[in-house]
Amino acid sequence: MSSEQDHLKETDTEARFEFKKEQKAAFKADKGLTEETIRLISEDKDEPEWMLQRRLRALKQFQKMPMPTDWPGQPDLSEVDVNEIVPYIRPDIETRGGAESWDDLPEDIKDTFDKLGIPEAERNALSGVGAQYESEIVYQNMQEQWQEKGVVFMDMDKAVQEHPDIVKEYFMTKCVPPSDNKFAALHGAIWSGGSFVYVPEDVTVEMPVQAYFRMNSEGMGQFEHTLIVAEKGSEVHYIEGCSAPKYSAFNLHSGGVEVFVGEDAHVQYSTVQNWSKNTYNLNTKRAIVEKGGRMEWISGSMGSKATMLYPASILKGRGASDNHITIAFAGEGQNIDTGAKVYHNAPETKSTIESKSISKDGGRTNYRGLVHIADGAANSSTSVECDALMFDNESTSDTMPYMEINESTVDVAHEATVGKIGDEDVFYLQSRGLDDDDAKQMIVSGFIEPITEELPIEYAVELNRLVELEMEGSLG
């Protein structure tokens, strides 16, 4: 262990994930969501008029749309009252749009990220870090070599000011319009922070770009927007990790992610979601993939009270491809409703979906997926595999893999398994020296192994550790 990490020795598991800082905010919008609030947010950010107008239009749509309540087995959203959430909080720091270096950050914020291991991670493997403390990006750094090649990685708010042409074209216009669903509309009205990534033609960003998001104030929502534009022939891997300390009032996270995968470009988007157990995590993530492009969605959903997340890929150009890898873990009181959506809108498109879910202590996981193959998308293929592992008779798992196939020359494969962890398997491992928890942990890590083996090493390690912590029941 290096000396930089000595502080970690002193904190136990609980402290590492449940630490919370005294709240010091410079600006705090009044509770409730009105046109007034939206204007205030936009003004405080010095936004151009067009962005204000987009926010107001989204607010109207949000107010018109009903809450989704009729999906079979969906999480109960009746506790979600948007008026109760303080939608926008800016941490009390002098620099807007990110501090230039780690040392410029206030001590308590640094401490928070230290506990998450961000600076080590950056030093070791990452080419850029955007850490979102509450609603603003407070720290941004991109290694110089990428800047020289024209790669942009910055706070989304800053991108509105500095790259208005690109943002105006792509921001909630053709990929995720606010009309898509009620929470996309809410997001469009009150979004704040997030990341903007632009990779020019034929540039490969070899190391993953990472952002961490945290919620740290009681009763607040987090609505960050991520926009990734990967031009023709480019390649980038974006990692998003989320966690929130534990609070009594409920939290809402409703992020928006839009990815534009250019011709023959390759984008991988990985998420580790570890929100605290009172968070409603309702996101909209979507990619549009041009000819020969490739989109990969990797999601690990461990935390939250309820998650509804179905990353979507629209395979628009001939030969575009998609790969979804999803791991969900639901413990006591959790309903993790995840899945994947793929629209095959061109010939010779290909998608692969692998989903693994684990439920224990009465938790519920659902796989809810849709594969749509349009008329004319000849010679396309799709393969869907979803496996569920339950720890006990109290836990639930459902699989709802919808398929809409409107083309005859396609190759469709689907496989689903649901099983309970075997007592004989646990006893076998125990008889070799592993205790009950370690035995179950080993079985679970074996269960998700086909997925973790495809991940970058540091990501696989983090995911395994989070699963391990979940199983110890030590996370809030």
């Binding site: 262990m1 136990d12 070799r432 592993l434 205790d435 035995a439 192994e449 550790r465």
Partner: protein
């Protein structure tokens, strides 16, 4: 020398109105000895094995399963204090029994997908060594340990604590043991028992015993489903456990065949949940010739 002593063991299936299976088993196995446990189907052999290892499906209603250890049973560097030389296994979890050196070779080993042999065996070996430390620790020391929980490193980085036996050291150990058993080294990267043939699974049970170096190994029908070549490999492995590690073997079998390769010091015969007859290797031969009706007649005076 370690001694496994089973005294008047009664056990039933752990359900309401569970069937009584063991009705007073007495049995003693010393390390360094090979014992055969024979008996007709349903006589309680496998149940005895599972109860020794702590299988939760059975409830012990009477009797004891004791493990007696000598000062130096865990090697010269590990002195076992006088007050911790006798353990009642029935008070311990299955993994604690394993830590004290009790091994069960399964008749039907579990298949664990996604967990490589190397990962599993190294984890098991380190868990065993760590648990053993804890069992022999003073209670004050144990409390100090408790405070040292949680992450040592960031979740973004690999585990720093490799356990007592590191990766490189373990790979060398595994390689040696696999050579000894004539196992293909590609086994090391296969998932634990997943897709193994019946014979490969049994060979793997012996390999695990060779790695974990138990004081007492109970092998439940290790010879069933083996062809003649594999039977010889497995037998060689069992003899090596005894000769090189001083493991005491309690071998449950239906057939004389394996006993031609693994010669027992003692043969015990079970009937209806009890050990009813004991003798040297010649007893197994006599049994092979005369069958269990002969045993019944000898014991109950009726066939």
């Amino acid at each position: 020398m370690a001694v496994l002593e089973i005294k008047n063991l009664h056990a039933e299936v752990a359900t309401e109105d569970g069937e009584k299976i063991l009705r007073g088993v007495d049995l003693e196995v010393n390390s360094g000895e090979i014992h055969a446990l024979m008996g007709p189907n349903g006589s309680g052999k496998s149940t005895t094995a599972k109860v020794i290892a702590g299988h939760p499906a059975y409830e012990v209603t009477e009797g004891e399963v004791l493990l007696h250890l000598d000062e130096d049973d865990f090697g010269a560097d590990f002195e076992i204090p006088e007050d911790k030389r006798t353990w009642d296994l029935l008070d311990l979890e299955p993994n604690e029994r394993a830590a004290l050196g009790v091994f069960l070779g399964f008749q039907y080993p579990a298949e664990i997908e996604g967990v490589t042999m190397t990962n599993f065996l190294r984890t098991a070996l380190n868990a065993k060594l760590e648990e053993r430390e804890e069992l022999f620790e003073d209670e004050d020391e144990a409390e100090d340990e408790e405070e040292d929980v949680g992450y040592d490193t960031s979740p973004m980085e690999g585990p720093v604590d490799e356990g007592e036996v590191g990766v490189a050291e373990f790979q060398q150990l595994l390689k040696e043991k696999m050579e000894l058993l004539d196992m293909d080294e590609k086994f090391a990267q296969r998932y634990l028992n997943a897709g193994f043939s019946g014979g490969e699974k049994k060979q793997n049970e012996v390999l695990q015993a060779a790695i974990l170096e138990p004081s007492i190994a109970v092998l439940d029908e290790i010879d069933s489903g083996l062809d003649i070549d594999r039977l010889q490999d497995v037998s060689k492995g069992i003899n090596a456990l005894r000769d090189e590690q001083g493991t005491g073997i309690l071998q449950i079998t239906h057939y004389q065949r394996i006993l031609d390769y693994v010669e027992p010091d003692m043969v015990h015969i079970m009937l209806d949940g009890e050990v009813v007859m004991e003798g040297d290797a010649s007893l197994a031969q006599e049994l092979e010739a005369k069958g269990y009706d002969w045993v019944r007649e000898e014991v109950y005076g009726t066939a």
